[in-house]
């Protein structure tokens, strides 16, 4: 799998305090990388989860997950419904903080730092780790306001160039350039979802988390979003939850297969069954449960 990732730099993109720098600087960083740094991008771990347990109240939803997510890769989380894929994804931007009763145990580091340390500001963290939800959730406002909100909140100057750039990035510009001031809910579902992606990109995140971003969409919009993910991978790290295995196989570099473990006592928790390069997971899965799932024999 030799591609551009291998030449990306091992330099952690850490925004300086205060005003975030525009993302457009990345090419410069690449030049630095070409100037002698070893091509070890695959080894740059963005998230490292160790022994992660998630409880909802007393219910243990996710048990003992160890998982490393690598920079400039697309990591797919697959598995049967209810196995905790969304739960795990929400751990990665501390969205679980907003869910009453949810409690995350174990450790998750972001670029080596404990994300759940007491003095870490989850608000700032969420700006660096964007999220796209399963159901498109644009703000009930104009397209322009959908994009500008996040930028304003994060102290990024809003201008028309920036809006155009972001919309082009999300492959939406041609469709909406004449109706930037119209209500976002007038867009089709696929367009709304791309707007949500654009909104996430607009605040210069380092990572984009996507929770089944295509599940409410038609096949054409789905392909548009998959294309978009491939381009975004150049600059961002992407984690995507999907129930569509072809999609995981088509777009992702690594695949984590979650499943439900049924204990004798009747307790069910989600566990991580297998995590490997996508090709391996689909061609030669090591775990029989993965095998069953991807061949459709999952009961």
């Amino acid at each position: 799998m030799a591609d551009s990732r291998l030449t990306s730099p091992p330099i952690l993109h850490r925004p300086t305090e205060g005003r975030p720098e525009p993302r457009m600087e990345l090419p410069e960083l690449n030049i630095q990388a070409d100037a002698g740094l070893p091509p070890t991008a695959d080894e740059v771990v963005v998230f490292q989860a160790t022994g992660v347990n998630v409880h909802y109240g007393k219910f243990l939803a996710l048990k003992d997950v160890d998982l490393a997510i690598h920079r400039n890769e697309i990591t797919a989380l697959i598995g049967p419904s209810g196995c905790g894929k969304s739960t795990f994804l929400r751990c990665l931007n501390r969205m679980n903080d907003l869910i009453p009763g949810a409690e995350v145990g174990g450790t998750i580091t972001f670029h080596g730092e404990d994300m759940y340390a007491p003095d870490v500001d989850p608000v700032d963290l969420r700006r660096r780790i964007g999220m796209v939800f399963q159901k498109p959730n644009p703000f009930p406002k104009s397209i322009r306001e959908n994009l500008s909100f996040g930028m304003k909140v994060n102290g990024i100057r809003v201008d028309d160039d920036r809006i155009e750039q972001v919309l082009r990035h999300a492959a939406l510009w041609d469709e909406v350039k004449d109706k930037l001031d119209q209500d976002a809910y007038a867009l089709s579902g696929g367009q709304q979802q791309r707007l949500c992606i654009a909104r996430a990109i607009a605040v210069n995140p380092e990572v984009i988390l996507m929770d089944e971003p295509c599940s409410a969409l038609d096949p054409i919009s789905t392909l548009a979003i998959e294309d978009l993910m491939r381009t975004l991978r150049e600059e961002y790290t992407i984690v995507i939850v999907t129930h569509n295995m072809q999609q995981a196989a088509r777009v992702s570099d690594r695949t984590a297969f979650f499943t439900v473990q049924q204990l004798d006592g009747g307790d069910r928790h989600g566990i991580l069954a297998e995590y490997n390069a996508t090709e391996r997971v689909f061609r030669a899965p090591e775990d029989p449960r993965t095998q069953d799932y991807i061949t459709g024999r999952f009961g």
Binding site: P100, R127, F133, P138, F139, K141, F149, V153, V203
Partner: protein, 351 residues
């Protein structure tokens, strides 16, 4: 699974379609519910007709523009109209900010459970210790931060049960008879706070009367905004308050305003609490429309005026005036309700 395909012999002949038959139960029920509607409507229509028949002659510009008087031939509705306007202004000015804020708090901020509050407090305390160790916090600021954290620790204990108690009692409050609010207003505003029996006391009393209604309606409107909107904003790095202020509240506003208008249309027709806080229907001073003067103005209001007129012994002379007043009050109410309906249909979103 059987492997043999079924033969035609296995399939029973199709039953012919059934014919229509009478269902007397349905017809009787239909007739019953329809006549219930008719009875309700008939009462309303009769009321309207009799009021209009009686009041139409008295309702003219003179009626609306002259002051109240002890002589029926000269008496007009001006005091009551102006009084009601001032009452509405005061009620809105007090109840809307309080009600919207309380609803926002109860819907969006109070649900943090005790455990979460405790975790947050613990995190804050550790962060404080780190900053103190780094020498960033000293003297009075350190003390202030300590105090804040101590308060939030106390709140983590008593806050959530208190919230639950408040929530349960809000709906009880909305059902309390209005005269009780009148007594509360009398005790609180007139006797304890020493406000004279005036439009101000009346307006404040109506404000606490409608507060629970506004809070309940606003909470519902806020709850109707999907959580995904707020989460979408927070996923972009907005704080909870930024998310609520920029997206949840604007989206909920039409519903909140609809609830407010309906609450106001209740307030504008209330009589009993105003009687208790010293409402009047006769007097020489016409209240000014300026709400800042309300503390010095006699407590006039449309329903009070109507009530007093209806109560006069000479029915022939005062009756038409009362009927004309009722027409004015009804028209006001209909306009307010139409506004609420329009607002709801025009701005409410299907998510």
């Amino acid at each position: 699974m059987a492997t043999s395909t079924p033969t035609s012999a296995d399939i029973p002949a199709a039953r012919p379609l059934a014919r229509k038959r009478a269902r007397p139960g349905d017809q009787i029920f239909h007739a019953a519910v329809f006549s219930a509607l008719l009875i309700a409507l008939a009462a309303l229509v009769w009321l309207l007709i009799s009021v209009v028949a009686k009041g139409a002659t008295a309702l003219d510009w003179d009626f609306l523009s002259s002051q109240t008087s002890s002589r029926a031939s000269r008496a007009g509705f001006l005091n009551a109209l102006k009084g009601s306007v001032v009452l509405m202004i005061i009620t809105i000015a007090v109840a809307v900010p309080l009600g919207f804020a309380a609803a926002t708090y109860l819907e969006k901020f109070a649900p943090l459970s005790r455990d979460e509050l405790r975790v947050i407090t613990r995190r804050r305390r550790r962060a404080l210790e780190l900053r103190r160790a780094a020498g960033e916090l000293t003297g009075p600021r350190l003390l202030a931060s300590r105090l804040g954290i101590a308060l939030s620790a106390v709140w983590a204990r008593i806050g959530p049960p208190l919230n639950t108690f408040v929530e349960i009692n809000l709906s009880n409050l909305a059902a309390v008879p209005s005269i009780i609010y009148g007594l509360l207003g009398l005790a609180l505003f007139v006797q304890i706070m020493g406000i004279s029996k005036s439009l101000l006391a009346g307006g404040l009393t109506l404000a606490i009367l409608v507060l629970p209604i506004i809070i309940i309606a606003s909470r519902e409107a806020i709850r109707a905004v999907p959580r995904s909107i707020e989460q979408g904003a927070m996923a972009l790095g907005a704080s909870r308050w930024q998310a609520v202020r920029s997206h949840v509240l604007p989206a909920a506003l039409p519903g909140m305003l609809t609830g407010t208008i309906l609450a106001m249309s209740r307030a504008i027709g209330e009589t009993a609490p105003l009687v208790v806080v010293g409402g009047v229907a006769f007097g020489t001073a016409v209240p000014s429309i300026n709400p800042l003067n309300a503390a010095n103005e006699d407590l006039f209001a449309m329903p009070l005026q109507i009530y007093t007129w209806v109560d006069q012994p000479q029915e022939d002379t005062w009756g038409p005036l009362a009927a004309a007043g009722i027409i004015v009050l009804l028209v006001t109410l209909v306009v307010m309700n139409l506004l609420a309906i329009w607002l709801r249909n025009r701005f409410t979103r299907r998510w």
